[in-house]
């Protein structure tokens, strides 16, 4: 059988697996473009977890109660754990954590733009839990059924923990809303800042999303950006009402005919600028990651050298 024929037969097998909604596993044959798309998506997700540690980590040493400090520290620790699972899932596709991190530092791979916005008050810890983790969950729950096995299984666990974080964030805001006027104002100001960037987390409108169609066909992605965004808005409006905060969109209203809330699109020019590197914290986030990596290089080298010497001693 010629190479071309063999590839055609492998590709047909692959397509059948996808069609049956079965999972592709690391040792299975897969089209190169499927592999590349997955690496891009899973790496971007892993980087988001790791960069996402920074804006919330910013408040660990200033958390205003011992209980909140423990909750926040545990949450940021969970994010490091999520990064680990996802880098591991990525490694099953033939790339190493170090290679991926290098690409992140070099700006060749992206992370979620939301983390390029600063955290300016303790309420932001709650808002990130409620809106940002909430948006992340909308994006991620469908991925538990994604076609690539290791990614789907990692997402299963991550989604459970993210749901917990979202409820913790909401609970922090709810508690603050029952506190002083200054605390209520702090919550409102935070929601005002994070609403639009949260809407942007679903990516550009479908008509401008170049990768959506192929990713949906391969079941790497399971819903369109606009569908997920709508779902998020529909979910958030009653939650905002329960909290007693106003979402900063004068056009936000229930549309009986559609059975959904109508809402204003975020500023997509701002989104593109932030994606391209001009957000308020892009440079800072990468510089922080790079510094940690550079400062830790001698430790990682020591661990490698020590493990090697132990193996040599043993043999």
């Amino acid at each position: 059988m010629s190479d071309t024929l063999q590839t055609a037969s492998l590709e047909a097998d692959f397509d059948r697996v996808i069609e049956r909604h079965d999972r592709i596993e690391p040792r299975d044959w897969m089209p190169e473009k499927y592999r590349a798309t997955l690496v891009r998506q899973v790496a971007q997700h892993a980087h988001s977890e790791i960069i996402g540690m920074q804006p919330e980590g910013n408040w660990i040493t200033r958390a205003p109660s011992l209980r909140r400090k423990a909750i926040l520290l545990a949450k940021v620790q969970d994010e490091a754990g999520h990064g680990l699972y996802l880098y591991s899932a990525c490694e099953t596709l033939g790339v190493t954590r170090a290679e991926l991190t290098e690409k992140l530092i070099a700006g060749k791979q992206k992370y979620s733009s939301i983390f390029n916005y600063p955290t300016l008050s303790y309420a932001d810890v709650g808002t990130i839990g409620w809106l940002v983790d909430g948006a992340a969950i909308c994006n991620q729950v469908p991925l538990c059924r994604t076609s690539y096995g290791p990614y789907g299984r990692a997402m299963n666990r991550i989604c459970k923990e993210e749901s917990f974080h979202q409820r913790q964030g909401f609970e922090l805001l709810l508690t603050m809303m029952s506190g002083t006027d200054a605390q209520r104002a702090m919550v409102q100001e935070s929601v005002d800042r994070f609403w639009w960037p949260a809407l942007m987390m679903f990516g550009p409108p479908d008509v401008e999303s170049p990768n959506t169609a192929q990713s949906m066909a391969w079941r790497i992605k399971r819903d369109t950006n606009d569908d997920l965004r709508q779902k998020f808005v529909d979910m958030s409006v009653p939650q905002a009402q329960a909290l007693g905060v106003t979402l900063p969109d004068a056009e936000l209203r229930w549309n009986e005919e559609r059975g959904h809330y109508d809402f204003t699109q975020p500023d997509w020019d701002e989104f593109m600028a932030v994606v391209k590197g001009s957000g308020p914290c892009n440079a800072q986030r990468i510089a922080h990651r790079k510094r940690a990596l550079d400062e830790g290089a001698w430790v990682r080298e020591a661990a490698t050298a020590f493990a090697r010497s132990q193996r040599e001693d043993a043999s």
Binding site: I60, R62, L73, Q77, L84, G296, V299
Partner: protein, 306 residues
């Protein structure tokens, strides 16, 4: 989701096991000692018990603060997770110990404005002034590089493990339960630090050089861990606490063992300082900055709910 909720509340699991015949620990997040009989045992001086709990609680709180500064800054993700874990354990110990201090002697708790919902352990952590903190200067020091951090953690956790092991037999059932739970945690902290200590010693030339430098930085402060105050002497006499001076030999043996595994000698450096300064409220210059950061949000909202 229920299994997850349990995961996150497991901080209190250790308190539920063991000898719980005389009291039951609550698992309510709001009050760390909910459901616990906080009556002071016969023969124990409440003020001394509170002062002693503040010492151990403040050590844990301030050291947790320092270790939490590693978050997103560690050499690898695994160490980010491990150091956060250690900080979380110490934070949990701090919360229980400060709550115990407040329950033993309410007069140690700073007075809050009327109507303030701030619980006593938070009032102690966030509304006390620097001179009222009773932690050792040892835990205030800046982290330094990873080698300094590992050396400091090794010495601290070796000492604290020996201390908690004895404290598990305290006549105060609350302290005894907190200690029993802490033993499991700090055993891991010591293992983590010990493994890295040996790894850095046997890794590369640079890691060995940095480890030796770290050892020389931290070593002069090691003696502070075993300096006793009158409070600790009294705690030992009344059998609710441990005099750190009696731990010296045991802790030295552990440290010497790790040094031997790393093929290193004890540095020939004299101890710094003369008395138990931090324990009587005289701190290092770093402490003010640390507290300014730790307390800033809480102090801006004395009537706030979090």
């Amino acid at each position: 989701m229920d299994d997850l909720d349990l995961d996150h509340e497991s901080v209190y699991d250790g308190l539920l096991g063991g000898d719980s015949s005389q009291w039951a620990f609550g698992t309510d997040f709001e009050d760390p000692l909910a459901g616990v009989d906080t009556m002071i045992p016969a023969g124990v001086d409440g003020a001394a018990l509170a002062a002693y709990c503040l010492m151990l609680g403040d050590d844990a709180l301030i050291y947790a603060h320092r270790l939490s500064e590693w978050t997103s800054n560690a050499p690898d993700l695994e160490d980010d997770i491990a150091l956060a874990n250690i900080a979380l354990d110490l934070l949990g110990q701090a919360r229980l110990l400060l709550a115990r201090a407040a329950a033993a002697d309410a007069s140690v708790v700073p007075q809050m404005p009327e109507g303030s919902p701030v619980p006593p352990e938070d009032a102690l952590a966030f509304f006390r002034d620097e001179h009222a903190f009773r932690n050792m200067g040892y835990v205030e020091a800046l982290n330094g590089d990873f080698a300094v951090t590992i050396v400091r953690l090794l010495l601290f956790s070796s000492h604290r493990l020996a201390l908690l092991q004895r404290l598990a037999t305290s006549v105060d059932p609350v302290l005894s339960a907190i200690a029993a739970k802490g033993v499991k945690e700090v055993t891991y902290h010591r293992d983590y630090a010990g493994r890295w200590f040996v790894t850095l010693a046997g890794g590369t030339e640079e890691s060995r050089r940095r480890l030796v430098a770290g050892l020389r930085t931290v070593w002069p402060t090691y003696a502070e861990l075993s300096r006793s105050t009158q409070v600790e002497t009294l705690a030992s006499e009344q059998r609710f606490g441990v005099d750190p001076a009696v731990l010296t030999e045991e802790v030295d043996a552990v440290v010497d063992h790790v040094l031997a595994m790393a093929a290193l000698e004890r540095p020939d450096l004299p101890p710094s300082g003369t008395g138990p300064m931090g324990r009587i409220g005289r701190h290092t210059e770093e402490m003010g900055h640390l507290l300014a950061e730790m307390q800033v949000v809480a102090r801006a909202h004395p009537l706030g709910k979090w």
